[in-house]
């Protein structure tokens, strides 16, 4: 499949990152808590979402969709935006631990009303970063030497 750069699908609930991450400045990891511990960043469960708006804006039509999902017991089916092929292994937690900012790969999500794939997310793009990071951090106190081994991602 070709590059999915620019992919910007509609979502079942018109959730705005620009509002939550931008204006309200909620930390990315508050909702995508898996990014620190797991290979998947994860999408928060509906009950986590309800923690906030339940208190704030109960009657907004988009939030009603959320409470309806919880009431009916039907999970929300978000459309996946970023997707690496099955033959490439990727682990969020290693990148978060290496202090790679979310925006490096996902773009300025805090400005997006609807999330869009900004980068190409091809192998060459991964390798660009893996090759240059070591050079950039060579003088820094904490040296990061990302691997360029084939088998690190393909095994």
């Amino acid at each position: 499949m070709g590059s999915q750069q620019g992919y910007e699908p509609a979502q079942p609930i018109a959730y705005s990152h620009a509002l939550h991450a931008g204006e309200l400045q909620i930390n990315c990891l508050y909702c995508h808590s898996g990014a620190e511990k797991s290979r998947h960043a994860g999408v928060p469960s509906a009950s986590i979402c309800m923690n906030c708006p339940a208190q704030v804006k109960k009657d907004a039509p988009e939030i009603k969709k959320l409470s309806a999902a919880i009431e009916s017991g039907t999970p929300i089916e978000w459309t996946r935006v970023h997707r690496l092929p099955d033959f490439a292994y990727f682990n969020h937690s290693r990148h978060v631990a290496a202090n790679v900012a979310c925006q490096t790969c996902h773009g300025a999500v805090e400005t997006m009303v609807r999330v869009k794939q900004v980068e190409t997310m091809t192998m060459g793009w991964c390798l660009d970063c893996h090759r240059n990071t070591e050079k950039e951090t060579r003088s820094a106190a904490k040296r990061i030497a990302p691997t360029t081994d084939c088998s690190a991602c393909h095994y």
């Binding site: 499949m1 999915q4 898996g34 290979r39 469960s45 509906a46 009950s47 999970p75």
Partner: protein, 773 residues
Amino acid sequence: MSLLDKDKYWQCADEHVNEDEHDHVHGYDHERDNPPPASVNRRSFFKIMGLSTAAVAAAGCKRAPVAKIVPYLTKPEEVTPGEALWYASTCGACSAACGILLKTRDGRPIKVEGNEKHPASRGGVCAMGQASVLSLYDAARARGPLAAGKATTWAELDAAVKAGFARAAASGKSIRVVTPPVVGPTADATIAAFLAAFPTAKRVTFDALPYEEAIADAHAATHGARVVPAYNFGGAKVVVSVGADFLGTWVSPVAFTRDYAKARDPEGVRPMLRHIQIESTMSLAGANADRRYSVAPSDEIPVLAALARRVLERSDVAGKDTLLAAVAKIGPAKFDARSLDAVAKEILARRTEALVVSGSTDVRAQTLVNIINYALGTTVVSSARPLHRLAAALSFAEFLAELKAGSVGAVLLCGVNPVYAHPDGAEIAKALRGIPLVVSTNDRVDETASAAAYLAPSHHFLESWGDAATALTALSLSQPAVTPLFDTRGTWESLLAWAGRSSAYYDFMRARWEKEVFPVAADAGASFQAFWDRSVHDGVAALKEAPEAALPFRIDETQKALEGIGASPAVGGVEVALYAKVGMRDGALANNGWLQELPDPISKATWGNYAAMSPALAKKQGLAEGAGVTVSFGDRKVTLPVLIQQGTHENVVALALGYGRTRAGKVGNGVGANAFALARVDAGRVQLCRPGAAISATGAVEPLALTQTHHSQEKRALVREATARPASCRVTPRTTSRPSARTRSGAAARCTGFASTVILKDRPKTRASFSNR
């Protein structure tokens, strides 16, 4: 000219005999089957490449398919998507009950590993344990309770079954609960609770591979306790196994392999354990032995008697003369007397550190083993702290007699499949159909369950609570690692429900642990809750070491147990040896594709069984590998392809059990033939060897799916031969054909194939590092 000395290394017998290294033996020839493409020149290469690149580019214009992310509505606290969760549990695929760790992802068990905290298996699991996770997802499992083959609800089934039991009780007819002999202490307690609720009920045990029962019954005679003793292979200095494949299938193979491997570590601090195997079929244990003798199955009892006589004569134990007199009545062995002397000499040299075991299903053979171990005064077998204590129960033979007499009103079959795994299976099915109430808790409508009116399908063991005893020094615990996939209910939960107990099995088990396990637990701590949580977390709970007095050896009873064995009857024909195969055993997991696909460690055969025979017998019968043969005793017959297996006794045809299922499911049905049909029933007991078989060729040829000649060297020197020297070790790849004194036996070479890429000619005294020059 090949690259390695054919006298030393070869992958199959033909390769050994015919000079050339070839793949053709099993129908595959690399050069013939992979012809180079008809001359590709530079131009046509680019043409092909151009086409495929264009195809990729065209495909690249498309969008990837839309994928969804469906998060939890409310996420369970311990789950992080993408991270595996591990649960400690106990393998339920055989009575050995090894400790396992179960990897689950998103609430689904995906991988079984060994639990290092388990005192017996110490991190090991066998192929069946590994593959058991696939059986959890087996599509042939029953989806819910059935009444007369139609779906019903648990409430309806319970009402009908309870009414049936009440009717049987009221009419004074008996109720019989048929279970495997070893089910775990809490399950035993559940059965006791059920029996208490119905005065006419009794437990019957059915063991498809009845050697554990034979061992226990021999101990009942010799030691007055129906136990399978604890065997300490790690503490022994010499092991003599007469037909027991203790590394592959016998009693507790994983734990024994652990002990054995440690005791045979060439770099260990103690002298290596010496191992002598006397057997009729090539087994995993036999392939590892220092000395291997082949014996006809009918000669096993005379061989054990001859060993017993030699050992008794050189010892001064109480009752020596009585035992000698009893043993002397057994006819002479056909086995070479000089070899017997040699074996006797080895065990007598080690006495208390010698261990003799037998894989026989004959109680008399096991009694002879007990006599030998008693006369040696061995300390590496313990019946006081046994591996399993078998509950008092009716034997299956007694049960069959009752069935035929019509005194049984209700039968409850708990995870047993005698219609398949008994030579008189068809008769049993017929007898069961005449019983007013037959309930089965098997996990599918198998051979036996299809003769039952009601199916109350049990959980897979990965969905259930349970426990198992490990040599009475620890209890191993099972916990569900997944919510039951189907509308099933654990066997013991059903038993409690039918006994009128309102508690769930989990509560029953916890209450029993609080009352009976907590007080005897080693470092139990103050609170039961903490102890329970820790036990569930670890999968095991150690028990206090209570010193137990050794059980006295009972001379008179032993003598009685040996009565009636004369000289082995002279029956003509070939002897049939039925054996449990690594990865299939009694065939309960026959519908597991991984196990069917698993090459047998000895024959390297996959998918199905075969008639294994020695090259000599095959030659005598004029049979080649793959030729169809019918092995028969009167009208009992089994037709299978021939597999030529070095190491098989010259007059033996060996057939693996566990194949030829008819109602296991899509994968297992009709794979191989059911060799249980050929088992002998002797005074009600099923015996897995039988002399006097007729063999006839069918004329058909069926190629066997063997992996033995896979991974040929393709005429490259992949296997390097070297001499490892201590310390400054240099390894020189050598491809010459220098004859060596350390020629491996043909049989062993067949079973190991080329497993490693460096062959050490001498055992290194220290760990050596290798450099290839």
